[in-house]
């Protein structure tokens, strides 16, 4: 089963002894079955908080406002038990670091059987058969033997394939891949991207890919949301974002991508300044302190989300349709 996902006015803050950290503010995103959505931004921009909120895995000190509607149900309002029933059934997560994602003292097969615990209709033998088939599908040779292996006996790339297989085994309507290639070397990264591209043709749920790597997003996604300091500053189709970025932050981010330079540079370009404090976010536009195009109202009044085309929008005064 798969349905539409829509987060609206989603805010998450973490209560800490040093004050509330506003990790996510009035985020609106939307995803339809069959779509691959990219979420891109630098470290600390709230990408992980966003997907953690979508997967209902926020820590106890997190406070959530707004709505996450999936299939017409508001996930944020469900009790802990109902949320748990959705995880590993409707919603599956592929984690960031395949090296630590699996329990070190249980075999791969054992864990993947457990992860199908929502499928009460399947016998253990059937579950193992499904695992073997799925492992073969994600490109693991000798699947039967690998099921009897412990995680440390597999390479990082293989473990990430297993993690993807585990997520797909639950047949989720919403598959979240949180930095799926960040911990891998370049060759492995290419292979995993290739695998994800292949899988998306057979899979008809929603895929959300989080990455700080622009190349990964460009290769995999239909639509992209660019995040900065806990806000979605721009969103749109992958072509529009990469070829016609309208928010000054997106423009600066793209300008900094080393993959865009063919010659060796003495100095790689950077965005001057640093991320604003998330305990006291700036009253106006979050990017204004670092923005070259900022003018008077930017620093005091938060800009609205400006709709540029049917599905391209930017949170900036400078952006005009």
């Amino acid at each position: 089963m798969s349905g539409t996902l829509a987060a609206s006015g989603l805010s998450v803050r973490y209560e800490t002894p040093h004050g509330s950290v506003h990790a996510l503010r009035h985020v609106d995103i939307e995803a339809h079955p069959g779509e691959v959505i990219g979420i891109v931004g630098e470290s600390g921009c709230g990408k992980s908080t966003l997907v953690t909120a979508l997967a209902n895995l926020l820590p106890a000190n997190a406070r959530i406002d707004g709505a996450i509607r999936y299939n017409g149900v508001d996930l944020a309002k469900l009790d802990a038990h109902r949320q748990r029933l959705l995880r590993g059934d409707e919603i599956a997560l592929v984690g960031q670091d395949p090296m630590t994602a699996f329990n070190p003292v249980l075999t791969i097969g054992d864990q993947l059987v457990d992860f199908q615990h929502h499928r009460k209709d399947l016998s253990r033998t059937l579950k193992r058969a499904r695992i073997a088939a799925m492992l073969a599908r994600v490109g693991i040779a000798d699947a039967e033997r690998r099921m009897r292996s412990y995680p440390h006996e597999l390479s990082g790339g293989m473990r990430q394939r297993v993690a993807i297989a585990a997520a797909l085994l639950t047949d989720p309507g919403l598959l979240i891949a949180d930095e799926p290639t960040t911990a891998l070397d370049v060759t492995m990264e290419a292979q995993i991207i290739h695998l994800l591209r292949e899988l998306r043709r057979e899979y008809n749920g929603i895929v959300i890919v989080v990455s700080h790597h622009l190349g990964v997003i460009a290769e995999l996604c239909d639509r992209v949301y660019v995040m900065y300091a806990g806000e979605v500053v721009e969103g749109g189709e992958v072509d529009a974002i990469f070829h016609d970025p309208r928010h000054p932050y997106t423009q600066a981010l793209l300008a900094c991508d080393p993959a865009r330079f063919h010659d060796r540079l003495d100095r790689l370009p950077t965005i001057p300044g640093s991320l604003p404090s998330l305990i006291q976010p700036p009253p106006g536009c979050v990017y204004a302190p670092r923005c070259g195009k900022a003018f008077a109202p930017c620093k005091t009044i938060a800009p609205p989300l400006v709709k540029l085309t049917a599905c391209h929008a930017a949170r900036c005064y400078v952006a005009t349709p």
Partner: protein, 316 residues
């Protein structure tokens, strides 16, 4: 794994030899003539010489040690100086009582301590967690002889629910079990606290690891995550602790046996030491050390069994 086991057993044998050498050195260094102490000031020189010969004390110390091990290999641990009964028989008679006491105490401590630790983690930050914490520290702080004496006063003297002394009627399971309750509880109580704290601490660490988040992201129920995914890793430091602690459990059995006048290894050693009955002391120490060393080896092998990463280190 086999090579590892062989290595550990070899090391264990070496420890046995070293302990006995230390024991003989101690006897050699203790001032005073054991025969005089044993026989009293009015003993004749003749009698004294006879006793010294019987205890083998006229031989050089290194020869005594070699003799001891040569005999021990054939199952002969020497003879009681007074009754002339074989030490091995005395030890075998006393051992079951002590082992039952120690193992019961340990089993009780694990069966209560481990679930308490798990509960603490599942309810972390709540009143239940705090209560378990205070109780654990409390029972650790109370020495077991205090528990022994107060429980004796309450349950045996005032309420008369449980027998005050002895190990129960031979062959009568119920009577033996009743006699076991207080001594076992006296030893176990502090260990419940230790184990609960230990399990909680290592479990908290494991629960923060990414693979637990993976298990949660697949919606596994919390009890299953705690009991299957976290406990198998978190229990490992506890196993090491318990294996080392078994030495202290056996030594607390020594005076718990004294308080409850329970026949056992503890009583055997205290009696033998006070009468300078060296063959009995040596034989008992050898057996106890052997038990202790075997338990440590068993714990290490169990850890290797539980943690495939450790297993591979030893395989390679």
């Amino acid at each position: 794994m086999l090579a590892y086991a062989v290595k550990r057993i070899g090391l264990g044998l070496l420890i046995l030899v070293l302990v006995m050498v230390a024991m003989y050195a101690a006897v050699f260094l203790v001032p005073g003539d054991p025969a005089t102490v044993a026989l009293g000031p009015r003993a004749t020189p003749e009698l004294k010489r006879l006793l010294i010969e019987r205890m083998g004390l006229d031989q050089p110390v290194w020869w005594q040690i070699v003799e001891f091990f040569r005999n021990a290999l054939t199952g002969n641990l020497g003879y009681d100086v007074w009754s002339n009964r074989p030490v091995s028989t005395l030890v075998l008679e006393a051992l079951p009582n002590t082992l039952v006491l120690g193992l019961t105490a340990l089993a009780v401590a694990l069966l209560i301590g481990v679930p308490l630790g798990c509960l603490s983690v599942m309810r972390r930050g709540t009143a239940a967690d705090a209560a378990i914490g205070v109780l654990s520290v409390g029972v650790i702080a109370v020495p077991s002889f205090v528990v022994a004496i107060y429980s004796l006063l309450l349950f045996a003297v005032t309420l008369r629910w449980l027998p005050a002394i002895g190990a129960g009627e031979a062959g009568d399971f119920l009577s033996q079990a009743r006699a076991l309750v207080m001594p076992a509880a006296a030893i176990a109580l502090g260990w419940i606290g230790y184990i609960a704290r230990m399990v909680r601490a290592s479990m908290m660490e494991v629960m923060g690891e990414p693979h637990i988040r993976t298990a949660r992201s697949f919606g596994l129920p919390e009890w299953k995550i705690v009991s299957k995914y976290a406990l198998r890793i978190a229990i490992i430091p506890t196993i090491s602790l318990v294996a080392v602690g078994l030495g202290s459990i056996l030594s607390s059995a020594v005076f718990v046996e004294a308080v409850f006048a329970r026949p056992g290894i503890g009583k055997l050693i205290t009696d033998a030491v006070s009468t300078r009955n060296y063959p009995v002391v040596m034989g008992t120490v050898l057996v106890m050390t052997a038990i202790y060393v075997s338990i440590t080896i068993a714990a290490d092998l169990l850890i290797a069994r539980l943690d495939p990463r450790v297993r591979d280190v030893f395989r390679g």
